[in-house]
């Protein structure tokens, strides 16, 4: 199973002798004797800690037995052991898995309940400094990695971990290092719980030691041998520098923890802030992420994006980032559900200039046509009428192209199943203009002349209703806008589909009633201006029918309006045809229903009845369809 890439397997012969751990004495967690270091830093290279005692936990140079440390001058408990977390990791990239696992390295001294300063990182097995057969060179047997004390970036003033600015650790050669120099813009990625040089390098070292130190090699924790020197330096520069507290949270070695963290040594005289719970600091630092997360994997993803690896998670006593994320997820304080998070508002349709300005256009065209027709007689009147109607058609098309009355997915879908509305609408409007007169003529003996566009005469043309209808496009557009805006608002506010439906129904009825009122007012005005009788029933019903049909089309339902409009138009056509058919011999009965109706109520009853029932049917249908939440879903890409 080649899930590990083939690696030139030069076994890294671990430095010989790196096997025993000396049992830790007292607080000294078994330092492991490393193999002889091949490369030893020149004496005096490392700044020596001036102050005293390192903690008993001396990670000291010892660690790592794997790291063949052999400082010439490094006394056993010298705090100088530190540093240089130079580890050439020679893991064959194998089992990255192991990176996370801590092979319980033998009798790890880790059992010692020693506190460790700084991150306890076990040094990864460092191959003894000798040439590897495969030509790999062992890494420098450096002393254990410096625990890079986490240094909070300037942008994070309050972290609970004591930090030592690495800058402070440097020998103040030129005194140039300033903590301020590290004041990076706050935009820098929050640094992972920096403390403790987690030299996670060791991770995959696991399989390495051909010298048969599986346990040692497996330790992925690098000791954070915090160089006492570093600490000392930091102390000396404490004034004005960052707090020279011991780096953090070396989690105190609980005996239960398999890979006992090597005590980071030598924090010198600087007292380390006791932290029995490093995860708390991490939780605090990533509070936002943890509170927002919906499950543990999201926290894990966020942590990894910040640079936390399995080796870092090891410092928190977890096997890998996933288990750390689960702990964080479990520990994040979930105060009373649900937190009132501001729900992102749905996009409310705005009042677009396009449709607000183009909706009065048909009204204007209609008014112009009527006025022109009133002023002309005879032949020019016909031409004017034709021109006016053409203009009106164009204006209506323009007005209905955008805005709340625009058909959704209009031109893209050409399926015939969707329904054709235009011919029925034209027929109904034509009936509104000429139909009453025609019916009257038919019932009284047949139309003798063609209509001449005048309200009086043999075939009266009712221009007021038509004009009122063209003018009514404005209130229709605004009512549709109110409907969609109100529906969106209710969408954002309702908790269930039933709630939304219950809230949307009065909205629909209200806007419908509003439109009817506006239409009635316009009709009254037109009738007064033109001096014609105001034909309320047929106009109101026709207006209602057209509005409902257009609303349904605007929400994408074309089938029902097409059906109903067709039915209404066919009814009116039949009502016109029946009396004509009644003139045939022996068919006098056919004309009976229409005649009785017109005798009883009058000619306007026919269109009123036809359009009225159709409007009622559409109202019922719209009440069911347009009050559904799915009809008002915001379309378009939401990423």
């Amino acid at each position: 199973m080649s899930d590990t890439p083939r690696m030139p397997s030069g076994g890294v012969p671990w430095g010989a002798g790196g096997d025993g751990h000396r049992p830790s004495s007292g607080t000294d967690p078994g330092p492991r004797e490393g193999t002889s270091a091949r490369v030893t830093p020149a004496a005096g290279e490392w700044p020596r800690p001036t102050a005293g005692a390192d903690r008993a936990v001396s990670a000291g140079g010892r660690h790592g037995g794997e790291i063949s440390v052999n400082w010439p001058d490094a006394p056993d408990d010298s705090p100088s052991a530190p540093v240089a977390g130079i580890l050439a990791v020679d893991h064959p990239a194998a089992a990255p898995g192991p990176a996370g696992t801590f092979p319980a390295g033998g009798p790890r001294a880790g059992e010692s309940p020693v506190r460790q300063p700084g991150a306890a990182c076990d040094l990864p097995p460092v191959p003894g400094a000798r040439d590897l057969p495969a030509g790999f060179s062992a890494h420098a047997p450096g002393p254990a990695g410096i625990s890079s004390v986490g240094e909070p970036r300037a942008g994070e003033p309050a972290t609970s971990r004591p930090d030592v600015s690495p800058a402070a650790r440097f020998v103040p050669g030129a005194g140039v290092f300033t903590a301020g120099a590290r004041a990076l813009p706050a935009g820098l990625p929050g640094h992972v719980p920096g403390p403790a040089g987690t030299s996670s390098v060791g991770g995959p070292c696991a399989a390495e030691s051909s010298a048969g130190r599986p346990d040692a090699s497996a330790v992925p924790r690098s000791v954070s041998a915090s160089s006492g020197s570093g600490v000392i330096l930091s102390k000396s520069r404490a004034g004005g520098r960052r707090t020279s507290a011991i780096p953090a949270d070396g989690p105190p070695a609980p005996a239960s923890r398999p890979p006992a963290p090597m005590p980071a040594a030598n924090r010198g005289a600087v007292p380390r802030r006791p932290s029995g719970d490093p995860v708390k600091a991490l939780l605090h630092r990533h509070r936002d992420l943890c509170e927002r997360a919906v499950d543990a994997l999201e926290i894990a993803a966020g942590l990894e994006a910040q640079g936390i690896t399995d080796r870092t998670a090891a410092r928190f006593r977890h096997r890998d980032v996933f288990s750390l994320a689960e702990e964080l997820y479990a520990r994040v304080p979930r105060a009373g559900e649900p937190r009132a998070e501001p729900t992102p508002a749905l996009p409310v349709p705005r009042v677009g200039a396009a449709w607000a300005l183009s909706s009065p256009l048909p009204g204007i065209a209609g008014a112009g046509t009527v006025a022109a027709m009133r002023l002309t007689q005879g032949q020019p009147r016909l031409l004017v009428a034709v021109a006016g109607i053409a203009l009106l058609a164009l204006a209506t098309r323009a007005a209905l192209r955008t805005g709340p009355l625009a058909a959704r997915n209009g031109p893209r879908r050409g399926r015939a199943r969707r329904g054709i509305l235009a011919p029925w609408t034209l027929w109904l409007l034509g009936y509104a203009l000429f139909g009453d007169g025609l019916l009257h003529n038919v019932l009284t003996g047949g139309p003798d002349t063609l209509p001449d566009g005048a309200p009086g005469g043999a075939w009266p043309t009712a221009t007021a209703p038509a004009l009122a209808l063209t003018l009514a496009l404005v209130p229709a557009a605004w009512c549709a806008y109110l409907l969609t805006a109100g529906a969106r608002r209710r969408l954002a506010g309702s908790r269930g589909l039933g709630d939304f439906t219950a809230a949307a129904r009065p909205l629909l009825l209200g806007t419908f009633a509003l439109f009817l009122g506006a239409l009635a007012a316009l009709l009254l005005g037109c009738a007064t201006v033109l001096g014609e009788p105001a034909a309320y029933p047929q106009t109101l019903t026709l207006g209602a029918l057209l509005l409902l049909a257009r609303l349904l089309v605007a929400h994408g339902h074309r089938h029902a309006p097409a059906l109903v409009l067709g039915a209404a138009a066919v009814t009116e056509a039949v009502a016109l045809a029946l009396p004509l058919a009644g003139r045939l011999p022996h068919c006098g009965l056919l004309a009976l229903p229409v005649r009785t109706l017109t005798d009883a109520v009058g000619e306007p009853a026919v269109p009123a009845l036809a359009c009225g029932t159709a409007a009622l049917a559409l109202l019922l249908h719209a009440g069911r369809t347009l009050t559904r939440a799915s009809a008002h879903a915001p379309t378009g890409t939401t990423g």
Binding site: D3, P5, M7, P8, G10, V39, A84, G85, L87, V89, H91, P92, A93, G97, A99, C121, F136, S137, H139, A140, G142, G150, P166, R169, F170, F177, A181, L184, P185, G187, L188, P189, G197, S199, V201, R292, D295, E298, A301, A305, G307, T309, F322, P344, R408, L491, S494, L497, D499, H555, G556, H557, R558, H559, A629, S630, A631, T635, T637, T638
Partner: protein, 547 residues
């Protein structure tokens, strides 16, 4: 052998991301046939067109994921279809909402799979799945699942707007179910489906496996689930995020269950896959390959390096932690006064530009200019360049000019710069971040991140020891040539293809004119994974070799 390559927003499109490796794969396996099935992510991407394709790509089919489907105006479903839809979608939604249930993960996964395949079959027979998902029926089904007894708290408090948002996302995510790619002339004719990423790219592969038994291979260089978590940040309501995360998690689990072989690009992706339920026995790590040609010249001549120069190459941004590099270099200079540092790279975005300025200021502060004598003009030991400037004309030359290549990132993914350095045969010192340790593997020095002291020590150790540098460099180059080149990548995939095809051959029954299955219609040679040329004339009228 015919391979169906499934991509999402990637390869064949001109501005697809991460499409180069697919191109190299296709060009490297010229003896096989490839069918490309690409999902596009945006109108812009489709309008840009496709890359020029090699001749072994016999077919390209694209489908958009970004179009806004018509809403459920007229759901053209009859009663039976509605019932089926409610049942399958209800199972799917129930599995998504029960995601927090850990007690029976297999049961939840099975429910999800049943729902998904049921919807796929419905879409194949009736069509109109998108409209049905967005219709009132779909939303009500989702609501019912959210209010079901076992649903987690965040799902239970989903409001109507959240439900609609989730419905929109689900409809877009399940759009591959409505495609007509699963017939016998499309994906059904392939011997193998290779999905180039997880998530939506692998969904057609799942369905091809369900309908036609075509084995699936999934390659993930960046785990899709993780990318989903990082992208859907704080924008949406928690209920939406919870539901979508659960859906993608379930989908990922299903993909990992059904794929024959998974190839993550590095250990990080592999961990995520294992976490999400992948079987370890099916995972093969195949590292991404880089073209090594340009670096051979630099790699074969290690003597051109200036023995005192450290080189840093990359895109300047705060995650690269140049500041600690500068501090480390200060320490290096203290011990090796003749050392030089070259920082070569261009800033990434406005943040990177600000950071670069900051670093320049810090360098000016830390390192005074040096001059040879009292009357010479000095220069700063740290130099900032960009690729293309006269001092750093090409990348191999930059690497070749330095003795040691340094990487000091805090957050890193897969370090391609490091691989380039390894190809040039340069010893490297890098911080342990991301996949660095995996890539280096012992042929370079690795130090903890944010530890300038350790970095300095490592650099000094290398600067003082030229034989060690040479050894490390040679070892690094050998390792890179062995693991991270295009050839090994292509070879690994070829091996995996052959393995899959040999273990899971697709069974196809060829029928004769009357509909009865023809025995021996597919001779043994037809399973040979090579390009089978034209059919012999004697086989034409009644049978055809299975291709």
């Amino acid at each position: 052998m015919r391979t169906g390559l499934l991509t999402e927003g990637g390869y064949p499109f001109v501005n697809g991301d991460a499409g180069l490796w697919c191109d190299r794969l296709v060009r490297g396996l010229g003896q096989h046939e490839f069918d490309l099935y690409a999902l596009s992510r945006s109108r812009h991407q489709e309008e840009q067109g496709l890359l020029p394709l090699p001749p072994q790509v016999t077919r390209v089919r694209t489908a958009p994921l970004w179009t806004a489907e018509g809403d459920g105006g007229a759901v053209g479903y009859g009663r039976r279809a509605r019932r089926r839809f409610t049942e399958h979608y209800g199972e799917l939604a129930g599995a998504v909402c029960a995601a927090a249930d850990r007690s029976a993960p297999a049961a939840v996964a099975d429910r999800f799979a049943n729902g998904l395949y049921g919807l796929a079959e419905l879409a194949r027979e009736e069509g109109g799945l998108g409209a049905a998902l967005r219709s009132d029926l779909g939303v009500r089904t989702l609501e019912r699942a959210c209010r079901a007894p076992g649903a987690p708290g965040t799902a239970r408090e989903a409001r109507v707007a959240d439900l609609l948002t989730v419905t929109g996302h689900l409809e877009r995510a399940l759009r591959p179910l409505s495609l007509d790619w699963y017939g016998d002339d499309a994906l059904g004719a392939a011997d193998l489906c290779h999905a180039t990423s997880g998530g939506p790219a692998a969904l057609p592969g799942l369905l091809a496996r369900h309908f036609g038994g075509v084995p699936l291979l999934v390659t993930e260089y960046g785990v899709h689930l993780r990318a989903h978590y990082l992208d859907r940040g704080a924008g949406a309501a928690p209920a939406v995020r919870a539901l979508l995360a659960a859906f993608h998690g379930r989908l990922a689990t299903e993909i990992y269950r059904r794929a024959e072989i998974l190839t993550p690009g590095n250990a990080h992706a592999r961990r995520w896959q294992e976490r999400c339920g992948a079987d370890r026995a099916r995972i093969r790590t195949v590292y991404p390959g880089m073209a090594a040609g340009g670096f051979t010249e630099a790699g074969e001549s290690p003597d051109r390096a200036d023995p005192d120069t450290l080189v840093w190459v990359g895109r300047v941004e705060p995650a690269k932690d140049l500041v600690s590099l500068l501090h480390a270099f200060a320490e290096v200079r203290r011990r090796e006064p003749g050392a030089r540092l070259r920082v070569v790279g261009s800033p990434a975005g406005p943040e990177g530009a600000a950071y670069l300025g900051h670093c320049r200021a810090l360098a000016a502060q830390l390192f005074p200019d040096e001059a040879e004598g009292a009357h010479a003009v000095g220069c700063n030991p740290v130099s900032f360049d960009e690729i293309g400037s006269p001092d750093a004309p090409t990348l191999p030359e930059v690497y070749a000019s330095g003795a040691v290549v340094v990487l000091s990132s805090v957050v890193e993914g897969f370090p391609t710069g490091l691989i380039e350095a390894m190809l040039c045969g340069r010893a490297t010192v890098s911080t342990d971040a991301g996949a660095v340790v995996e890539v280096i593997g012992g042929t370079g020095l690795v130090v903890p991140p944010r530890n300038p002291r350790a970095l300095a020590d490592a650099c000094v150790a290398l600067l003082r020891d030229p034989e060690r540098r040479a050894r490390l460099g040679a070892a690094a180059r050998a390792r890179a040539l062995e693991l991270f080149t295009v050839e090994q990548n292509v070879r690994a995939f070829h091996g995996i293809y052959l393995e899959i095809v040999s273990h899971c051959p697709v069974r196809r029954d060829l029928l004769d004119a009357s509909g009865a299955p023809l025995p021996f219609a597919a001779p043994a040679e037809s399973h040979v994974p090579a390009h089978w040329p034209a059919t012999p004339t004697w086989a034409l009228p009644t049978t055809e070799p299975a291709r």
